[in-house]
């Protein structure tokens, strides 16, 4: 047994469990987009808080890894902070908030703005791995549809959106086709992030703890968002720059600033926002006050925990 600093086995899970998860991961990487069942275990957090992602991370993390955890793009939200300190305690790894420094990035709902590189692994927390679930409630039937690559049903959903709203109104968990074969739910990332999955140099792993499924997109794999010829896939767009750092072409969150309807749009990726604000202070002057409070939380960029 390789005991970690906390008295738990390294990564919290026992070695047999990690081997079981690694076997599922190998199969998932070998068949991109295919949902591999695995024996999901309990981890010390409630189902729905990222237990699938935590188990995948636990199975692949080693003492040399540097871990970044984000929740809705932010490093400083409850879920991100607690998972980061969990692995710092049970695996003794270095943690960071810098995307470029991390070897493993566990994420909920976002892909970082900084492009991922070869050698990095991004682990998605997945609440619902089955893209066909709300159209076909029977698991036996959805599995058969995947086996036969019978995906007309998914287009019915897109058709309904266009018929009702004039455009595809799905803005998150937008279905994708992986390597031209398997239909896959990209986890609830905004459709803004979908293009980043296509031929990404990093290894992308997906863990759904409650639904007991693991799937994967290996580096440089085609990931195509579905669409019609006359209504092609269009990611969300933002017209205004980030109110703190002035970045354009990034995903923005609306932040309520008072109780009379005031709000501002700021980067959801706190790491990106902070670095952009530091490198170009001019654009941030207009919002100095808010910038200070927002970045203050994310100042301790590298936490080393023993």
């Amino acid at each position: 047994m390789s005991e970690g600093p906390s008295g738990y086995n390294i990564g919290y899970l026992d070695e047999q469990t990690k081997r079981m998860i690694r076997r599922a991961l190998l199969k998932a990487v070998a068949v991109p987009g295919f949902q591999v069942p695995f024996a999901s275990r309990e981890v010390p957090m409630p189902r729905g808080w990222g237990t699938g992602g935590v188990q995948v991370t636990a199975a692949i993390i080693g003492p040399d890894d540097v871990l970044k955890v984000i929740d809705q793009g932010a490093d400083d939200t409850t879920n991100a902070v607690s998972i980061r300190s969990f692995f710092a305690a049970v695996a003794g790894v270095r943690t960071t908030t810098r995307t470029g420094e991390a070897s493993i990035i566990q994420t909920r709902h976002r892909i970082p703005e900084t492009p991922l590189a070869e050698g990095q692994t991004i682990v998605y927390q997945v609440p619902g791995p089955e893209p066909l679930r709300f159209l076909e409630p029977r698991e036996t039937e959805t599995r058969r549809l995947h086996a036969l690559a019978d995906y007309g049903l998914m287009y019915v959903k897109l058709y309904e959106d266009i018929a009702r709203y004039g455009h595809v109104a799905t803005t998150y968990d937008y279905p994708v086709m992986v390597a031209g074969r398997y239909l896959m739910a990209p986890s609830p990332i905004p459709s803004f992030d979908n293009p980043k999955m296509h031929r990404n140099p990093a290894l992308q792993l997906f863990g759904a703890g409650r639904e007991k499924r693991i799937y994967a997109v290996p580096p440089y794999t085609d990931v195509e968002s579905l669409g019609f010829e006359d209504h092609p896939f269009e990611p969300q767009r933002f017209d205004d720059p980030c109110a703190i750092c002035g970045s354009v072409g990034v995903y923005l969150d609306e932040v309520i600033t008072d109780d009379v309807g005031g709000s501002m749009f700021v980067c959801s990726d706190t790491d990106h926002c902070e670095r952009a604000a530091n490198s170009d202070t001019n654009t941030a002057t207009a919002n100095t006050a808010t910038a200070n409070t927002a970045t203050a939380d994310a100042v301790d960029t590298v936490e080393v925990t023993a």
Binding site: L135, R144, L148, D150, G152, F228, D230
Partner: protein, 259 residues
């Protein structure tokens, strides 16, 4: 000349539920463009036979050979599930007695008719919608209902929508399970009229299950009479209904209320 060869060749077909036979020993040849009615009382194995022929139920014994559009005849139990599903999507239709079984009740009418097209690779929204609108017109559903879900439709409209959904991919063979029962008589008459004209227009081969001899008389060329899972009489519809040979057929024909 595919017209000279049968579309469907059934030999000694049977389906067993546990230790009980639902239907057994059925021989049948269906020719392109032909309409065959299967009549009989409740529990006589009509629907089991239809389910077996359409491969929704497994074939316990016997063989079913289907001649596909490319002219190749294949044994359905040998071509595999993937190929059978392709037949469902491209060459076959199945009209259920209850439209709720054949439609997605909370998806719009346009989506329901468009789904088989999307399943066969149509990826142009405008063309899918145009095809759906055209089929709604053909089955006499007002085109301005295209974005309404079938839950808001009347029984007759639902059944017509189900027919449109089945015919939109231009199938060669359509299975119908009691398509008119559950509708009131005037709606039944209009639906039969519609089915009859579409069948003639498109040259469809149809196997229709019904307990209503008037339906058989109206739209079928040949009739099979079933009782206790066996075919007890078959022949041209007019011959079977006007000159029934089997005792049970005679009983069935004489049971019609004369109005």
């Amino acid at each position: 000349m595919s017209g000279a060869r049968p579309l469907l060749q059934v030999r000694d077909a049977g389906h067993r539920y546990g230790d009980r036979w639902g239907c057994r020993g059925v021989d049948l040849d269906l020719w392109p463009g032909e309409v065959i009615a299967v009549v009989g009382e409740s529990g006589s194995g009509k629907s089991t036979l239809l389910g077996t022929l359409s491969q929704r139920l497994s074939l316990t014994e016997g063989s079913i050979r289907y001649r596909a559009a490319d002219g190749e005849a294949a044994d359905l139990s040998e071509i595999g599930e993937s190929a059978v599903r392709r037949l469902w999507r491209t060459e076959w239709g199945f009209v259920h007695q209850d439209p709720a079984d054949g439609l997605r009740m909370h998806v719009s009418a346009g989506g329901n008719v468009g789904e088989p097209l999307m399943a066969t690779g149509w990826r142009h929204y405008g063309r899918i919608r145009a095809a759906a609108a055209e089929w709604l017109r053909r089955v006499e559903i007002p085109v301005d209902r295209i974005d309404d879900a079938p839950v808001t439709f009347s029984g007759g409209m639902r059944q017509r929508l189900q027919i449109a959904r089945n015919l939109v991919v231009s199938p060669r063979l359509v299975f119908m399970d009691e398509p008119t029962s559950g509708l009131d008589v005037s709606v039944q008459a209009r639906l039969l009229d519609l089915i009859r004209s579409l069948v003639a227009e498109l040259g469809l081969a149809v196997i229709i299950v019904t307990h209503d001899l008037a339906v058989a008389r109206l739209i079928s060329h040949r009739t099979l009479v079933m009782k206790d899972g066996r075919v007890i009489e078959s022949g041209l519809t007019d011959r079977v209904l006007d000159d029934p040979q089997a005792a049970y057929t005679q009983l069935l024909v004489s049971s019609i209320l004369q109005g």
